[in-house]
């Protein structure tokens, strides 16, 4: 298929490398170097899609990321929604179509790789236009570490879309030489197709590099598709150029309507004529270049419509020489056409007849907005410059400077000079010796006539409902009027009311125009109105890119114990406990969770069970003051613990609320092993370090986590002694009660592996915890299981562990407590030392609120029907004397914290926090369950073996 709008020669496209692509179901041929937009325009295709709300035809409005309208969905090689035709490079096999405002995410997994890199530089230069290249050259020659980052496929910036000369030769030759010099410099990183989308504190910038998108299906699998660069720069020069802005008039959204400078880019960079007959609407000199250059390329320019009464003499002469009519003091008041503009409706600004001028291309220039996004993100202040008609940076920031068109420079020579100067300033501040780069020569620019400030052209009938401000949002001048009518004034509020600037392009063409319109409608200038805040990202970034390699297993690390493979083979069903994978239960064939847990519980209460408790936190506390530190942090006395003994302890915050519990083993005079809950391991180490370092640095203590070094297996049940004796008896262990008492530990050796045995019970049964280095965990576990076989040893999981401890009324910190529960509330006043003058939390126990009789206290609940398992979290309520619920709001006594079926009790039971609960023992209260009230009896929390007869076997 021929491309009738492709010029015969010129441009940056590779005319010898055709590529085939499909758009909207039609096959086309483009050239390597084309964007989807330029390739479509080469075929005369202007309409890309329809608009989101109104379904109006929409085309290509600009040549790069500022385009508000050419939204496409890429289908091949991989679905990618919400791309712009103007930034999508074509390649063989590209399949895309327009989208009316919303794309479609892929419904298959993205197999592409994404990654990230860190980069530290002296100077980050954003933008490889004339200012950026000159800045980078200056820094490179001065020996600085430099990053030059630019979003387009090749360097040059605005020079890619012009015929400018630098040093008497085509500007892009100068750019090419500079790029070659930078490539050879050892300390320079030069990235193209890379967008700096955000700048943050202390010179931190994030950029996304599109590494293989332009290669399509030919992308090498081993190369990441996109990469996030995390750049830390000592100084940043923002040389991001400027965006042309439109003028708003009626039906300004018809395909064929385009920013004037963009038509130059399509011509010079892509060798594409955007139409055959053009009308140019302008408020300033810059669009004359487009008119003249397009005329020279063969486009018939029907008229330049200049809003200014006085047109620039230089350009008037250039137009006259080409037979281009210039209409001063006029404007375009509307367009005609359906899916493509056919006429521009031209009228004098002071009224009069409307002249419909035939055209298939309507070029518009309302002036230029410096691309101040990054400067503004870094909290730089903007001010409206009336002579330029633009918001400009008011200066520089500590570590960020702006140069070139982004700083308001209009001429090439100024851009070059500012780029070099900003770079030199930064380098001097960094203490580097600057090697200046001479500013290359550029042809003299014609004199500039002051621009006109025109935001909107009034509709001839006063109808503002088709005057589009934000094309992506289908938001019009009428919407802005409505917002002001509703009393809104700030552009931030108007933005949210109208949705202007909230779409894919984040208002690159609509934001400043909106400020101008607000000012026009309210009176005053744009400076009084200001702009909305510029926020990252500058252009959209895919979540997959930001995630990088932190996907799947690498998103959140999975921690497994040394016995993980054994549990897998045993058919464990897993529970996630923080990052740990713990066996929840081990179902036999045909068992559901309830049956399995009842079986596991029965084994532990009548025979012997074994649990992988390796995830318990373990902290090695060493030093002459180790006991003193523990005394200050635990509610009970630890320093009095004899070597060889174990003590249960509770830790509270300064507010007196329980934060963790566990057992403490005294290993030596100056050494303790502190056991924490699985979830509390990191928190308790943090807590100990905080107090030690910030309050008691004089204490001689060292702390280290040994959670992963030690595996721990509780062997639990009346037959546990037989198992321990069988396995460790040959090593000299005597497991008899007299020789191995409750809450004591002994070290032994099994097959050369050191093992620590501790008589600790979290079930009320006779039990030992077997501690072994994780290297030997599997061997020791398998010995225990083997030795337990005659006794029916049963591995059990966290569910059974929870039931067994709940039957004994042992709370789980964080399940039965919630940060508002004291040890006394848990019925554990016995664990609070009366002897110690102080410990963290002690003073709070005497606060009036903590002495209230009606505090919520941990109690047991027994459903009277002996069948209902109360859902955890259920509320506990009290009936009125009438036997009915009291009138709403029904007072809540508390809530169920743990609830299970008990094999031992042969009935369900629960733990609950209930107001004044201990005094209610024996009373009936009620728990609403699915619309009915279940009667429950309040009991003490210890439901199995309250005398503690079972712990010694």
């Amino acid at each position: 298929m021929s491309a009738p709008f492709r010029t015969a020669s010129g441009g940056r496209v590779e005319r010898s490398v055709p590529v085939s692509f499909t758009f909207g179901g039609t096959s086309y041929e483009g050239l390597r170097g084309d964007t989807l937009a330029s390739a479509l325009l080469a075929h005369g295709v202007h309409q890309v899609t329809t608009s989101i709300k109104l379904g109006r035809p929409r085309g290509v409005g600009a040549a790069w990321a500022e385009d508000p309208s050419s939204l496409v969905q890429v289908e091949e090689p991989f679905p990618d929604p919400m791309q712009l035709a103007t930034t999508t490079e074509v390649f063989d096999g590209l399949v895309a179509h327009g989208v009316p405002g919303q794309g479609r995410l892929a419904d298959i997994g993205d197999s592409a790789r994404y990654d990230s890199r860190h980069l530290h530089v002296d100077l980050l230069v954003v933008g490889a236009g004339p200012a950026g290249v000159q800045a980078a050259l200056t820094a490179a020659r001065s020996g600085a570490r430099v990053a030059l980052v630019d979003e387009q496929s090749e360097p040059g910036g605005s020079l890619l879309g012009t015929t400018d000369l630098v040093d008497g030769r085509p500007a892009l030759e100068w750019v090419g030489d500079a790029a070659a010099e930078l490539a050879a410099a050892p300390e320079v990183v030069h990235l193209q197709r890379t967008t700096v989308f955000g700048v943050y504190d202390d010179g931190f910038a994030l950029a996304v590099e599109r590494r293989t998108d332009h290669l399509g299906g030919a992308a090498p699998r081993e190369v990441s598709r996109q990469r996030v660069w995390r750049i830390r720069a000592r100084r940043t020069v923002v040389a991001t150029g400027a965006h042309e802005r439109p003028v708003v008039f009626t039906d300004n959204d018809r395909p064929g309507t385009m920013l004037a400078g963009s038509a130059r880019t399509f011509l010079h960079r892509y060798g594409v004529l955007a139409g055959t007959r053009a009308v140019v609407l302008t408020t300033n000199d810059s669009a004359y270049r487009a008119a003249v250059e397009l005329a020279d390329a063969g486009v018939e320019v029907a008229a330049v419509v200049d809003t200014r009464p006085q047109v620039p003499a230089h350009w008037a002469a250039e137009c006259a020489g080409r037979g281009i009519e210039v209409r001063s003091g006029s404007a375009v008041v509307g367009t005609r056409g359906t899916d493509r503009v056919t006429h521009a409706r031209v009228a004098a600004r002071d009224g009069g007849a409307v002249d419909d001028v035939a055209c298939d291309l309507l070029l518009v220039s309302g002036g230029w907005n410096p691309a101040v996004h990054l400067y503004s993100q870094a909290r730089g202040k903007l001010a409206f410059d009336t002579s330029l008609g633009a918001f400009l940076p008011t200066g520089r920031l500590d570590d960020l400077l702006v140069a070139g068109a982004a700083a308001g420079a209009q001429e090439l020579a100024t851009c070059l000079r500012q780029g070099g100067a900003a770079s030199a300033t930064a380098l001097v501040e960094l203490g580097l010796d600057v090697v200046p780069v001479p500013v290359p020569s550029t042809p003299a620019a014609p004199p500039v006539t002051a621009p006109d400030l025109v935001w909107t052209v009034p509709d001839v009938d006063g109808d503002t409902s088709r005057q589009f401000v934000d094309l992506q949002r289908d938001a019009t001048v009428a919407d802005v009027q409505r917002a002001l009518g509703a009393g809104l004034r700030s552009p931030e509020h108007v933005k949210r009311y109208t949705t202007i600037g909230t779409a894919h392009d984040q208002g690159k063409t609509s934001g400043v125009v909106t400020s101008g319109i607000i000012a026009e409608l309210l009176g005053g200038g744009p400076d009084d109105v200001g702009t909305t805040t510029f926020r990252p990202p500058y252009t959209p970034v895919a979540f997959a890119t930001l995630a990088g390699r932190d996907r799947g297993q690498l998103f959140d690390p999975v921690r497994t114990t040394a016995l993980h493979d054994w549990h897998v083979r045993a058919g464990a069903v897993w529970e996630d406990v923080g990052q740990w994978k713990r066996p929840r239960y081990y179902p036999l064939a045909g068992e559901d969770v309830e049956t399995a847990v009842l079986r596991e519980c029965a084994a532990a209460r009548t025979g012997v069970g074994i649990l992988d408790g390796s995830t318990l936190g373990k902290i090695d506390v060493q030093g002459p003051d180790a006991g003193e530190l523990l005394d200050r942090l635990y509610t009970n006395l630890m320093s009095s613990l004899a070597v060889g003994k174990v003590r249960y302890g509770v830790m509270c915050g300064a507010d007196g609320m329980v934060i963790d519990d566990g057992t403490v083993l005294r290993v030596a005079e100056d050494r303790f092993l502190v056991m924490t809950t699985t979830g509390g391991a990191a928190k308790v180490l943090d807590w100990m370090e905080e107090w030690h370092q910030t309050e008691w640095p004089e204490l001689g203590v060292h702390l280290a986590s040994v959670t992963e070094q030690w595996s721990a297996f509780p062997v639990v049940g009346p037959r546990s002694r037989d198992v321990i004796q069988a396995v460790f008896g040959p090593s000299g262990v005597d497991a008899a009660n007299e020789a191995f008492g409750f809450m004591t530990w002994q070290d032994t050796v099994l097959d050369g592996a050191p093992v620590r045995l501790a008589r600790i019970s979290f079930s009320g049964e006779l039990a030992w915890e077997v501690h072994v280095s994780s290297w030997h965990a599997v061997a020791v576990w398998e010995r225990l299981v083997e030795a337990g076989r005659p006794y029916g040893i049963t591995p059990y999981g966290t569910e059974t562990m929870h039931v067994l401890r709940a039957e004994k009324g042992y709370p789980i910190i964080g399940q039965d407590t919630d940060g508002t529960v004291t040890p006394q509330d848990l019925g554990m006043a016995w664990v609070v030392s009366k002897k110690k003058p102080d410990f963290v939390g002690k003073r709070s126990f005497a606060r009036a609120d903590n002495l209230r009789e009606d505090r919520k206290q941990l109690v047991g609940l027994l459903p009277v029907d002996r069948t209902t398992v109360l859902p955890e979290g259920s509320q506990v309520v009290e009936l009125a004397e009438s036997g009915e619920l009291p009138p709403p709001p029904v007072p809540m006594l508390g809530h169920v914290t743990s609830s299970y079926r008990s094999a031992h009790l042969e009935r369900p039971f629960a733990l609950a926090l209930v107001k004044g609960g201990r005094a209610r023992a024996g009373q009936l209260v009620h728990v609403p369950v699915k619309g009915r009230l279940v009667a429950v009896e309040v009991t003490g929390p210890v439901l199995v073996d309250p005398e503690g007869a079972r712990r010694d076997g």
Partner: protein, 101 residues
């Protein structure tokens, strides 16, 4: 993503650090001697300063050491860092809010 200067390690990424609340709120020497109100002030009450604020930080993903910092709560900028036990530094000038220009 500020760079925070750990007094032991030097400048490191903000993500390596953990905030620890207001500095120079010592644990009372004799909690038992305090009234409920005095104790409550220690446990529950902290300043809410606009401007330079002395606070505790921990280099939790680095050397794991605690230190103190003066930070401008308007601009978030760190104005000074110092080791526990050192006195709060006296600043040459009052911090300026927001970016310089």
């Amino acid at each position: 993503m500020q760079m925070i200067r750990c007094p032991w390690c030097g400048p490191r990424e903000e993500v390596e650090f953990h905030y620890g609340g207001q500095a120079h709120v010592p644990y009372p020497a004799e909690p038992a001697a305090l009234s409920d109100e005095e104790w409550a002030h220690y446990v529950f009450f902290r300043d809410n300063t606009r401007g330079a604020f002395a606070e505790r930080w921990s280099h939790s993903a680095g050397c794991r050491r605690w230190f103190n910092a003066l930070r401008d709560t308007v601009s978030y900028r760190f104005l000074a860092v110092y080791r526990p036990g050192d006195p709060r530094p006296v600043l040459d000038q009052t911090p300026t809010a927001g970016a310089s220009s």
